[in-house]
Amino acid sequence: MIKYFFSTEKEQKHKKEKDHSDKQHPLIDLRDAWKTYRTGTVELTALMGVSLHICAGEFTAIMGPSGSGKSTLMNILGCLDQMDSGTYYLNGNDVNNISQEDLALIRNQEIGFVFQSFNLLNKMTLKENVELPLIYGAISGRERPRRALKALEAVGLTSWAQHRPNEVSGGQIQRAAIARAIVMDPAIIMADEPTGNLDTKTSRDIMDVFNQLNKKGSTIVLITHEKEIAAYASRVIQVEDGKILQDSSNRDDSKPEKTN
């Protein structure tokens, strides 16, 4: 079991106006998660009893080599996949045994994804891409452009709103993807290797965007295998062989807390 203590003054200050949780109810409350993949006769246990608490306003990096189970963990935390056993409360909702339709709703309302390969739709403009979650969130057609432009403004893309992904740079595409992730004002932003396809300088720009969002109160979970990228986070969780190896705070160099 993780014993994670989190209630510094600094973090409290970052709490969002939109009250996603309180100290007693962490935003992410995952307990004893198990997940096994079967391909033919081969069985691969990707998660072996992982427990994890993440509170509102945290900037957490999940690190680990490939095959460590970090992607599986991200898929489960992001409600893209469901685990075999364990419990998962996201923002107070039990999301473990709910229908596909409800999972889609959770992904729409509570989670914003940023992917390594951007995953914008190329035939749409950046603005239209950012509007997509609003459509599935049943936001009215009049409200959508206003909110999409606000999100694009937050990532500094206002003047590129009417361009298509193939007309802008990789860094700008990823900014648009971040705008899409924040447009529904979700509880958590999940970023899966968001700088994996970008050069060093652009990577820094993108991480600065995440940093700013975090300072404004966004809760961010970042999956990466790069130390330099993980360094932007305030908390780093090391995953290996389906288990959490280490859970440490990045900022005040405090002694890492050993977990199972």
Partner: protein, 417 residues
């Protein structure tokens, strides 16, 4: 959501215009062929009905079955007189003598359809006199060599319409008869008068519709040797409700007079039974074409299914992205169903227009070749059925690909290249 699905569907279809058009082809062909045949059939029915209006619902045609008939079985003037006087359900009887011949003036010689008519003929098929007059009773009785010619005939033979008093030489069956024109009538546009008097077979070798020339019955009788052996007579019942009764009474009378009731030589046909026959033929053709069209629609539907499966595979990643940001399975299902229904609906609409165009084309060709005069009629019912069918095909053949898309696992879909 509907608006968004429509937007996505149209943008996806316009991105692959050629593919969409080819996919629609089966639907277009299916719908177009049904629309063509149904609108021509409806138009044809209306045309036939319009022609029958001239004759009226109380007319029954008595025919001698020429295959079984012997010389003494044919109907003569004494039979007609008996029918006229002895059967009280009969109001009028007429038996025009008709023959193909030529009419000539000093300058022209033209093909004509010569009809020998009696006074009762006017009750069945009114002759609309434009210049001059009808025949007088004396002319009927004493077989005067007088004629009434139709307007088109007058124009062709004399170069003008009012030719009352002019001389006209009739030739038929090797005989020549000089006559005088006493009247000019309106041309009969329809071929029905020839058809109704059982003259269709002899008209077959003619090119186009000949000009009509009328003469008193006995005048024509003097040209035709066997004029007292009629194969067709027209009988008018006193009221439409008694038309079957009148027909049966006439046949009974003829069979009693000839003593040939065992060979069923005579048959009666009235408006209703002729209409039934025509309707039957049109319905058989319609069903046949509809079956072929149905096959085309099924093939078209399979084409739609195929292309939608391709579309789902091509857009697997897009589906993954949409699911990751909150699209439900239902959203995805709806999106792809919308696309396949739009595809078939556009196909159906093109089919309706193409079918109508084809119907008008066929009718114009038939008219210019002088085969028939039919204006296609497209009923609202036919449009609704066509639209409903194309929507149904879209729904039926779209559901499998759409379900396949909807059931994609978001992670697998996102990983797809």
């Amino acid at each position: 959501m509907l608006m968004e699905s429509l937007k996505i569907a149209t943008s996806s279809l316009t991105a692959n215009k050629m593919r969409a058009l080819l996919t629609m082809l089966g639907i277009i062909v299916g719908i177009a062929s049904v629309i063509t045949i149904v609108s021509l059939g409806e138009g044809g029915k209306k045309e036939v009905l319009g022609q029958f209006d001239n004759i009226g619902a109380s007319t029954v045609i008595i025919q001698v079955r020429s295959g079984q008939a012997q010389a003494q079985d044919y109907i003569n003037q004494r039979d007609i007189e008996a029918i006229r006087t002895r059967i009280d359900s009969v109001k009028n009887v007429t038996a025009p003598l008709q023959t193909i011949g030529h009419a000539s003036t000093a300058m022209e010689r033209r093909r004509i359809l010569l009809s020998g008519i009696d006074a009762d003929f006017m009750e069945f098929s009114p002759i609309d006199i434009v210049y001059g007059r009808m025949f007088t009773e004396i002319e009927y009785l004493d077989s005067f060599p007088v004629v009434i010619i139709d307007r088109a005939g007058a124009l062709a033979l004399f170069g003008r319409e009012d030719v009352v008093g002019e001389r006209l030489t009739l030739e038929s069956r090797g005989r020549i008869l000089p006559t005088r024109v006493v009247g000019v009538c309106e041309s009969i546009a329809s071929q029905f008068s020839a058809f109704a008097s059982g003259f269709g077979s002899e008209m077959e070798d003619s090119r186009g519709i000949p000009f009509f020339v009328y003469s008193p019955f006995m005048t024509v009788g003097s040209i035709i040797q066997d004029h007292d052996r009629l194969s067709t007579i027209n009988v008018m019942a006193v009221e439409p409700e008694r038309v079957d009764e009148a027909g049966n009474a006439v046949i009974n009378l003829l069979e009693t007079r000839r003593g040939n009731s065992d060979r069923s030589i005579y048959r009666s046909q009235n408006l209703a039974s002729i209409l039934d026959q025509i309707n039957n033929v049109i319905n058989i053709i319609t069903w046949f074409v509809s079956t072929v069209a149905g096959i085309s629609l099924v093939v078209g539907g399979i084409g739609v299914m195929n292309i939608m499966l391709v579309s789902v595979t091509e857009r697997t990643r897009e589906i993954g992205i949409r699911k990751a940001i909150g699209a439900t399975n239902k959203n995805i299902l709806f999106q792809f169903m919308t696309e396949s229904v739009i595809l078939t609906l556009i196909g159906g609409t093109i089919g309706i227009l193409a079918g109508l165009g084809l119907a008008y084309g066929i009718s114009a060709a038939a008219e210019s070749l002088g085969i028939a005069q039919v204006t296609p009629i497209l009923s609202l019912q036919a449009i609704i059925v066509a639209v409903a069918f194309s929507t149904g095909v879209g729904l039926f053949f779209g559901i499998y690909p759409a379900q396949k898309a909807a059931n994609l696992h978001p992670i697998d879909a996102l990983r797809y290249d």
